[in-house]
Symmetry: C2
């Protein structure tokens, strides 16, 4: 337990109103957006909401001296339990540190606090004609700090990359409270180890990110949307491959399988031909309408070569919105198909996408479970959704076996456990299989080097004894 004396010290650091320990608050900070069940043991002892780096540093010094676990948190939109304080201790909420610290138009860089919401940052930059591309599905409420912790991706990754491709530098409070700066605004920088990229995606286990320098790019002047319908996944993937190899890189290439399409059709009372086995929604962008038209005709021609049943290019914004609404409604449509739904996030070499979909279909048949598959076909990131009824003991017994086989299949085709959600606690039992024993040992050594007392977000990424820190 965290004593009243320690709480008083925390109150002295951040102010009494920013130290929360009521039952309802502790419950409220015990879960995230994953399918991890509520549990008393996931509640923090206390929630601390610092205002700045100095306060974070003082909290970490105290936590370090007392051996108290600290789990950093943004808006808990994570999908793998990364911000769940499984060892109790302090839930360190960074949402007050949500300001733009500097907007450097000349260098096209912005310095922000970790608590700023992703879409708010996007909008702020867009107003100045600059573009922050990473667009995780949760971007309306996710924070940049959380995006960095999990190296969030999104639909634009195929052309623009993911969060880490935009992180130039960080300010990080280490486990002992010391503050370091990594990277910076120099575009080329080989002074010392690339700690910036070590912290990005480390899920709050190596340090608390308190300031972030992001690079921006000019906003594309024109955008449009296309919808391509194919008899099956193979032709859809063939089209995407051929496009990318010819140098035609769309800003997004989202793919839905037959189950996903029919889920949307039912949910929205649309009449979609059951012969359609795959739908690809493509976003294109460029400097002007002429550039878009050139891309669109190249894509149409490629799709026709791969037996597209239908190719539709939006004639105006309303048509574009109409096309995107299919993809946007997908998650709720798939969710409505069954009482429970386990949405996964595997990532495979782009070439292995159709093979991976086939393997998921085989697993679906083997276990008589409906599995809808959609994802970012342009970058090989799939989201299979296992649909089931956990109140049915027959389902409950086999769902996790099926998910385990999906992970095995992803590794077999040269892929990995997570493309954009991280490992957190939901996948930690698979990490050693993915990284190998020597790989896990290297992770543990780095973790021990930067957090020798193991107080930073204990229990995450790989299997380990959960510390009783309080």
């Amino acid at each position: 337990m965290i004593t009243e004396e320690i709480k008083n010290k925390l109150r002295a650091i951040v102010g009494s109103e920013y130290v929360l320990d009521s039952e309802i608050d502790r419950f409220g900070y015990s879960y995230d957006s994953s399918f991890v069940q509520f549990s008393e043991s996931n509640q923090p002892d206390v929630i601390v909401r610092p205002a700045n780096t100095k306060e974070v540093s003082a909290v970490m010094s105290l936590a370090s001296s007392m051996g108290i676990p600290v789990t950093a948190r943004g808006t808990s939109s994570g999908r793998t339990g990364g911000s769940i304080p499984v060892s109790g201790g302090i839930a360190l909420s960074l949402t007050r540190m949500d300001k733009i610290i500097e907007f450097d138009e000349r260098n096209m860089m912005v310095t922000v606090g970790p608590g700023m919401r992703t879409m708010e940052l996007y909008n702020h930059c867009a107003e100045k004609g600059l573009f922050y591309p990473p667009d995780p599905a949760s971007w309306k409420y996710s924070t940049i700090g959380g995006n960095i912790a999990e190296n969030a991706g999104g639909m634009r990754a195929v052309k623009y990359g993911v969060t880490n491709n935009y992180v130039m530098g960080l300010e990080v409070v280490l486990a002992d409270g010391s503050v370091i700066r990594t990277g910076g605004k120099a575009i080329k920088n080989v002074t010392g180890y690339n700690l910036t990229q070590l912290f990005v995606g480390s899920e709050g286990t190596l340090g608390i990110v308190t300031e972030i320098v992001l690079r921006l790019i000019p906003m594309p002047a024109a955008r449009n949307t296309m919808q391509l319908m194919f008899p099956d996944i193979e032709q859809a993937c063939g089209t995407i491959h051929a496009m990318l190899q010819s140098g035609l890189v769309p800003a997004a290439a989202e793919l839905m399988d037959h189950t996903s399409i029919q889920a949307v059709a039912r949910h929205r009372s649309l009449n979609i031909d059951p012969a359609i086995g795959a739908c690809v929604i493509i976003e294109i962008d460029g400097e002007d309408d002429a550039a878009l038209q050139k891309q669109a005709s190249g894509i149409e021609e490629t799709a026709r070569r791969f037996s597209a049943i239908e190719v539709r290019t939006a004639a105006n914004q309303a048509e574009s919105d109409d096309i995107w609404s299919i993809r946007r409604g997908l998650s709720s449509a798939v969710g409505a198909m069954a009482p429970n739904r386990f949405g996964e996030d595997i990532s495979v070499p782009r070439d292995a996408f159709p093979d991976m979909v086939r393997r998921i279909r085989d697993i679906s048949e083997k276990y008589s479970l409906t599995i809808a598959v959609y994802g970012h076909a342009g970058d090989g990131n799939l989201h299979p959704s296992v649909l089931c009824d956990m109140s049915n003991p027959e389902h409950a017994g086999k769902v996790h076996t099926a998910i385990g086989e999906i992970f095995d299949a992803a590794l077999q085709v040269g892929g990995t456990l997570s493309g954009e959600h991280g490992i957190g606690i939901t996948k930690r039992s698979y990490t050693e299989k993915a990284l190998g024993t020597a790989g896990i040992e290297a992770h543990k050594a780095i973790k021990a080097a930067l957090d020798p007392k193991g107080i930073l977000n204990p229990g995450k990424i790989w299997e380990q004894p959960v510390k009783e820190g309080n």
Copy 2:
């Protein structure tokens, strides 16, 4: 000293012909392409040339058990002493591991051994219509392994990034001989820490890279070259800024100051107007000639707004070669100006480029030393060359003070010590100033975690007691 018994064990691992210990060989492996003086103490005790990962692993197991320093080495084209075996022990030459292991056209990725030469890799990919963009100046002889160790850059960084932007995964032999794989062919991958990027740029101090997965992009169909002449650096930098902010990103933007231009003029008997204070050479690329013409007219218009004295767009390959020959001849032209030349490699926020050039001019005047400045203006990476005569005691006494002030100035404007050459031994006394004490401690902790006996390339990146490992 490494005993005959140990050498016999090394011979048993790699074969007798690949263990060298003659005086001439030991001398030959004691230097690189930096200005580090020859020294007996920089000679390895033995050179070992493994053929594959298994042999590297066995060498590391042996070295680890005996506490023998191991310094990995490609073709020693490094500029900061990174591959100089300052603690003796084993010089581990990886040039036999120079094969393409897999060429995966569908995924646009290539897996190579560390000993492959950069340009050879480029050519191999180009034959198949694919593009490996990083082009360090030494690319005719540098190896991919060395490029990874120093995170090599080049002229194309402004548009295409540097080596680490292309590294998808690595096979690494750790200090104890264990072998790990990091990353892979999945484009999105957030399974565990980003060890791939931790190893890239770590100058052989954390592990021996034995296999590299690189992503490639489609080769641009068309290229052209432009030469812009300005009254001074400010207008040249203003042009580059305005271009980039408008979304017009050239494939290269090389800048030369007045001293550099006149050096080339003298060296090649060209008549270049002394009123020209800055020359920018720009490479543009795109999908066809129309795309190039559009870029060229945008660049010309921008340059005219910034008072360009001359704008020349190559009409054919001969003119393009002619323009590039000025830049290519630059290093020898500047080198010919004085008996000694210390070429540096600082990197600053792009916006700070003109300020940095002014500060270098001030340092040049303060110490009465000629300093030619050229560099990659598109990405803020400058190469100031301090020209002097080290046999003149007056020069010898002040050159390093002047270089130290250049580093200080780079840090003051928000830049860093190295953009693309690494720290090695030549800049290690400045690292703590750049990274801070807590930053250096974090580096040391990571180094100790992955190399607890300190046998991997000891003495590099930061100041440390050189171990007597033999």
